[in-house]
Structure formats: structure tokens, C-alpha cells
């Protein structure tokens, strides 16, 4: 009788424990999803990088610069007809070109979905490392190659700007000076052909 009672109490205590833990995890997931400093993105991107070499190889340029201005850009469609999509444009003074060729001042744009709530890197004065894809010629316009392609520098500290994942955290943890060396090394590997861009998600599926 005592054994049965002990087991019953055990079940009751654990049920409370598990329910509480689950609720906390759901609350945490909710907080991460809606309010996180670098919140997760709920989208399928063209690229997912596993290394700096892949990031550099898939990008037209990689630059170190300072944001000078950000402002509302174009709007595609409206909310009812196409779902609508708004863009932010960001002007950057380039201090160092680590890969590719770009002007001293560049403009990039990012859509509201890719940005999410992660807009700290667009504040004027922000020091940023950007891997960029050129999306227009004249005037030249760029976008981050993916959400893993933006890093913010504060002193020697580096933080991911758009995507907080294993790749971006590994890249950022080394600090500013080491990251710049790593990117230059990656760019050299891309130049000599030892590293190439990964396949895009597009077309990865098996033919039917």
C-alpha cells in the first residue's frame, strides 16, 4: 500500500515538474521568436553557410564599413493583393574591402522579413562586416547574401547581426581582429579556387 502511494506521489510530482518545464520552454520559445535581439527567421533562404569560405565564395563582395544612414525603401505590392513587402535601404561607408570590388560608399537594401526585429546593425554609426550580393548595376545596389552575412563590431567584440546560429556564433566568437584575418584567408582560398560556393537550396530537390 505504501509502495503504491509512493509511486502515485512520484507521478504527481513529476507531472507537475514536466508541465512546468514544458510551459517554461514554450514561453522561452515564444520570447525568442517574437522579441529576441537576434530572433530566428521563419523562412527558407537561398543559401545556408557552414564556413566563412562558403560565405565569401557565394558573395560578390565582403566589406568592413560604417552605417551612415538607413531609411524606408521600396514597397512591393500591397498587403491584400500580394502580401506586400517593404524594404529598408542602408548606406555604408566602406573602410576595407576584403573580397570583390565595390565603391567607397554603397547602398544595400533588406526586406522586412529578412530584417525581422534585428535592426541594431542598421543604426548610423554601427561598425559592420557585410557579405554582399549585388542586385542592381546602376546605381549599384546590394543585399546581404543571407541572414548569416551580417556582423556587428563593438571594439573587438563581434556579434551576429541577423542570424544567431552555430555558424555565425563560431565566426563571431574569435573577435574583430581574428575575424578580419579569417575572412582574408577565406578570400584567398576563394581566389585560388580551393573553396567554392555551396549549392543553393534551389534545385537541390530530386527530379520527379
Amino acid at each position: 500500500m505504501r509502495l503504491v502511494l509512493q509511486i502515485a506521489i512520484g507521478f504527481a510530482v513529476l507531472a507537475i515538474l514536466v508541465t512546468t518545464t514544458g510551459a517554461l520552454q514554450l514561453q522561452q520559445a515564444s520570447t525568442d521568436g517574437r522579441q529576441g535581439a537576434v530572433g530566428p527567421h521563419h523562412m527558407r533562404e537561398l543559401y545556408t553557410f557552414a564556413s566563412l569560405g562558403q560565405m565569401v565564395a557565394a558573395s560578390d563582395a565582403v566589406v568592413l564599413g560604417t552605417v551612415t544612414k538607413s531609411y524606408a525603401g521600396r514597397q512591393v505590392g500591397d498587403d491584400d493583393d500580394t502580401g506586400g513587402l517593404s524594404f529598408t535601404e542602408i548606406a555604408v561607408d566602406v573602410e576595407r574591402v576584403l573580397h570583390g570590388t565595390v565603391a567607397l560608399t554603397i547602398t544595400l537594401e533588406i526586406d522586412e522579413v529578412s530584417m525581422g526585429k534585428n535592426d541594431a546593425w542598421t543604426v548610423p554609426g554601427a561598425s559592420v562586416l557585410l557579405a554582399l550580393t549585388q542586385i542592381a548595376d546602376s546605381p549599384a545596389m546590394y543585399r546581404p547574401t543571407n541572414t548569416q552575412s551580417v556582423f556587428v563590431m563593438k571594439g573587438d567584440m563581434v556579434t551576429p547581426g541577423l542570424s544567431n546560429d552555430e555558424f555565425t556564433n563560431t565566426v563571431a566568437v574569435v573577435g574583430r581582429a581574428a575575424l578580419l584575418v579569417d575572412v582574408e584567408d577565406a578570400a584567398a582560398s576563394v581566389s585560388d579556387g580551393t573553396v567554392t560556393a555551396p549549392p543553393t537550396n534551389q534545385g537541390r530537390s530530386d527530379p520527379e
Binding site: G33, H42, L46, V76, R143, Q202
Partner: protein
Amino acid sequence: MRSTATISFIGAMAFVLALSAPVYGTNVLGHRAGPDPSIRFNKINLGPSFTNAVDFNDVNNIEPTDISSIMYTNADASLGEVNIYDADYGNVIWQGNWSCRDWGTGNICLKGRVQFNQYWGPYPSQEAKSLACEEIGHSVGLHHSQAGTVPDQWNVSCMSQNPAEVYLSNHDETHIQAIY
């Protein structure tokens, strides 16, 4: 007697934790679409490719769960709790996305939006189905599945972002059952 009770207690603990593990895994976003398991999806201006993909997903991934889907094809965006669009959104980072446009209380997304980007199309049928599976999976509360967070079944789910996968995993479905 005491050792038997201890063993029973540990056994009970293991049993309860084993039961609870799939439900409280880590590929949930922490919200639900709408206040009840009956969810109104609205296919707004969808082309044939994504119409087929969304319908395939509804039959194979959504209806088998506790969600009861009500599918509209109507330009009136007020009808849907999840409105689904495809359009040429241009040279942006993504092929598809889900976002919540209107949060209610209690982590309920009152108005979700799924967009498929035709700029990167046309998509093969399998890829369109995979995209529909993932983005609608987000809309009902699922997160991406990755090796580090869903070690058992991460790569057999469209939530892994692999365009070859067009189905949710059992793990994903367990989450949905728990949410709805």
C-alpha cells in the same frame, strides 16, 4: 521495501520524462494559429504550382493532425487566419517565409502570412510542396528542425529546409498534437 519504492519512483520518472520529451522538444516557435484547432487558410492569388503544393500539404500534413483546416480561395484577406500568397518579391534572401501580422493574447497569431517568392521559381513540384510544408508548418507553430535540436528525426522533415522533404516528421506531428 524501500529500495523497491525507490526503483519504482525512478522508473516512474523515466516513464513520464520519456512520454514528455517529444512534446517539449525544441522545434516549436511557441505560438498557435488562431484560438482553436479549426484554422482558416486562405490561398490568395496563388498560381497553380503553389495551389497544388498547399492542397497536397493540407491533405498529407495538416489534416492528419488535430488541426481541422478550412481552406479558402478568396481575395478577401480578412477570411484567413493564415493568408497564403505567391508573387515575384524580387532578388531577396528567401524563397518562402511565414510571419505573424497580428498577435493576440496568449501567444496566438490571429493573422499569419505565408509568402512564396516566384523570383526564384519556377519551382519543381516537389520543391513547391516542400516549401509549402515548411512555411505552413511555421504558421501552425513549428520551428526549423536541426541536428542539434531534433536529433531523432530532424532530416526526415520539410522543417529541415531540405527541398527533397515534403512531409512533416512524426516528431513535428507530435508537437502539433500538443499545441492543438
